[in-house]
């Protein structure tokens, strides 16, 4: 910006001209009344207000104590070796203009480099770099370095618009202010940075956790994630559907805190999901995840547990990597799954992940959790896991299990974040009644339910295959022909009496005989798979197919 016409243009005086380096003085010289004004600057709670508030307080106190026209704080930009005007009173333009002074140059630059107090009696004839000081009509300046534990963090200076000789008492006061404020500035700065990181990490955490859990009939799922009171960690969980109607349940914990841990957590969660849907079993999935982690530069260690449930058979396959063993809640109480402990991810080059094959029977709930839920200072881990098992034992659903687990969280919050995820193999009712939407995409789900139900009724593998085929054809008929094009529902009822399976599919469309090549073939399949098939007009006008088959056993 060109200087305004009436602003005198000063030639910059030679380096160091007009600057008087003052020897430090003892704080006892400072007048007690004024020193009292500066006391509050060392109050730790002040720095928690944030950097802006802290600096504002510092400006006010210094101005009052020294009775000066201007106060300015420049903070060190370490990377660029510059001082940046960060807060000012009377010379606010400094901050607005983003004044930057290279270390070693001018007034403030020299204070920073030599770590000395400098007094300038006559600004007009002294070496200063910042033209704003002259433009504001400042006559005299006094500045001191801001030092924390031997590190320079900035410069604090005061100015007078009338010629003033800053004396030893003034210097002592300014030194006291600098000594008291410097740690506070550093703390507030760190606090603001952490706050910023905490916010980012929270945002990241939230965006990475699944928004909706897999919605499968006959399966109950629930989860909780609670951040630590002051830091974000790397805990995560996941629940997803796998090919063939299997369900994946995963949990993990990245060692460390903050944004980096949260980001790594997101990568691990995504990678695990990717390996899982490619069809890898739990043990192999964790081995691949380990390789993935170790391929990253500067990887951190992490723990994880991953299980695959076949809802049809209740077969549960589990593998862990340095993670706490999952728990199973059944009618008799809660117990830990007896899985061999293994090393965390990132701990060994070739970690083998043995799998545990177990059964999650109807009504049983699998609970996975991170150590944040059970680790309490002063309490042995085995004891707090015992407490967890006792606490969750009465849960009748996955949701209740999570609810009860969260009750273990102390009122004052958690030191570490925690995640808990639960999956229940729910009871299948005696009579299977479904009211699916008349859409082709519903068929797979209906088949999964009828297969589970048939298995519970004691049907053999072949019987399950054949009856499922027949049931699917009846439902496909309802979907294809019963309605068009408006979406609607149909009913599917399956019951069993002394080994006789009866399936009734009723749509509420208009009556029509199944026809077309597809349906013809579908009818043939139903006829071949079942003992009897009856197609008739339903009471309300739609089509009703009733089929029976006697089970062998």
């Amino acid at each position: 910006m060109p200087p305004e016409p009436w602003t005198p243009i000063y030639p910059r005086p030679p380096k160091g001209l007009g600057q008087v380096v003052l020897s430090p003085v003892g704080p006892e010289i400072a007048p007690a009344t004024q020193v009292r004004l500066l006391y509050r600057l060392s109050d730790p709670s002040l720095s928690e207000l944030g950097l802006e508030e802290f600096l504002d307080e510092l400006l006010n106190r210094v101005q009052e104590a020294l009775q000066v026209d201007t106060v300015a704080i420049l903070l060190l930009d370490d990377e660029n070796q510059q001082l940046v005007a960060r807060a000012a009173k009377g010379v606010e333009e400094e901050v607005d203009a983003g004044v930057r002074i290279p270390i070693g140059q001018g007034f403030a630059g020299r204070i920073a480099q030599e770590r000395v107090a400098i007094f300038i009696a006559d600004v007009d004839h002294a070496d200063i770099l910042n033209p704003i000081l002259r433009q504001k009509g400042i006559q005299s300046l006094l500045g001191v370095p801001l030092i924390v534990e031997g590190d320079l963090i900035g410069v604090l200076h005061v100015g007078s618009k009338t010629s003033r000789t800053f004396g030893q008492q003034d210097l002592a006061l300014l030194q006291v202010a600098a000594a008291r404020a410097a740690p506070g500035i550093e703390r507030a700065r760190l606090y603001s940075a952490l706050e910023q990181e905490h916010r980012s990490a929270m945002l990241l955490q939230r965006s990475l956790l699944p928004k909706k859990l897999a919605d499968v009939l006959g399966i109950g799922a629930a989860a909780r994630y609670l951040p630590a009171t002051d830091e974000v960690g790397g805990d995560w969980y996941d629940l997803f559907e796998l090919p063939g109607g299997h369900l994946g349940i995963a949990i993990g914990d990245v060692v460390g805190h903050g944004l980096a841990a949260a980001a790594l957590m997101g990568q691990l969660r995504t990678a695990l999901h990717a390996y899982a849907i490619a069809g890898h079993p739990p043990g192999r999935t964790l081995e691949l995840l380990d390789r993935f982690l170790q391929a990253m530069p500067d990887f951190a260690m992490a723990t994880a547990a991953y299980g695959v449930l076949d809802p049809e058979t209740g077969q549960l396959t589990l593998a862990t990597a340095g993670h706490l063993p999952p728990a199973v809640i059944s009618a008799g109480g809660a117990r830990l799954v007896d899985i061999e402990p293994t090393t965390p991810l990132g701990a060994m080059s070739f970690g083998h992940r043995p799998e545990l094959e177990t059964q999650l029977d109807h009504g049983e709930t699998l609970v996975m959790y991170t150590d944040g839920l059970v680790e309490r200072s002063g309490v042995p881990l085995t004891d707090s896991i015992e407490v967890l098992l006792k606490t969750i034992a009465p849960a009748r659903t996955a949701e209740e299990a999570c609810q009860l687990a969260v009750e273990l969280v102390p009122l004052e919050g958690l030191k570490d974040d925690m995640a808990v995820v639960a999956l229940q193999n729910t009871e299948i009712p005696e009579v299977l009644e479904l009211f699916p939407a008349a859409r082709p995409s519903e068929l797979a789900e209906i088949r999964r339910n009828i297969r589970r139900w048939l298995r519970m009724r004691g049907a053999s593998g072949e019987e399950i295959t054949e009856i499922t085929l027949a049931a699917n054809e009846a439902c496909a008929n309802a979907v294809e022909h019963a309605y068009s094009p408006a979406p609607a529902q149909f009913s599917f009822v399956a019951s069993e009496q002394d080994g006789l399976i009866t399936i009734t599919v009723t749509d509420r469309g208009s009556w029509r005989q199944p026809r077309g090549v597809d349906r013809g073939r579908g009818l043939r399949i139903m006829d071949a798979a079942m003992d009897s098939v009856e197609v008739r007009e339903a009471e309300q006008g739609g089509t009703q197919i009733t089929m029976t088959r006697q089970l062998n056993s």
């Binding site: 082709p440 068929l443 699917n472 496909a476 597809d518 043939r524 071949a528």
Partner: protein, 118 residues
């Protein structure tokens, strides 16, 4: 979750397509399109490996018939790989069409059968 997945492998004059997962009314149309597009013009035959299939119904059987028609127009042969005990076999058997479609119990036998018929 996608019900089925499809993998192609073309060698010389034969394309092998393997389907995993389930085939029903909801995905027959996309599978048929993918198969027709996945067989290059220079291929003489498609070997459709249905051995990993966990479900196939009348819509899937219809897909096989239509696919055979699509390929016939281009002068291409279709052989299905269907093991004797499999979900695909159950559907073909119950629909009474297992003898109307060219099948082989393994992929190797399907490929060998094509070579001898050349």
């Amino acid at each position: 979750m996608k019900l089925a997945d499809l993998e192609f492998d073309t060698q010389d004059s034969t394309t092998v397509a393997k389907i995993t997962g389930e085939i029903d009314l909801s995905n027959v149309a996309t599978i048929r399109d993918a198969l027709t597009q996945g067989v290059p013009n220079h291929a003489l035959a498609l070997v459709l490996d249905l051995s990993p299939i966990t479900y196939l119904d009348s819509a899937g059987i219809q897909l096989i018939y239509r696919l055979r028609e699509d390929l016939r127009v281009r002068g291409q042969d279709l052989v299905l790989v269907i093991p004797p005990v499999s979900a695909a076999n159950a559907a073909l058997r119950l629909a009474g069409v297992e003898h109307h479609i060219k099948t082989a119990p393994t992929r190797e036998e399907a490929l060998a059968g094509l070579q001898t018929s050349d």
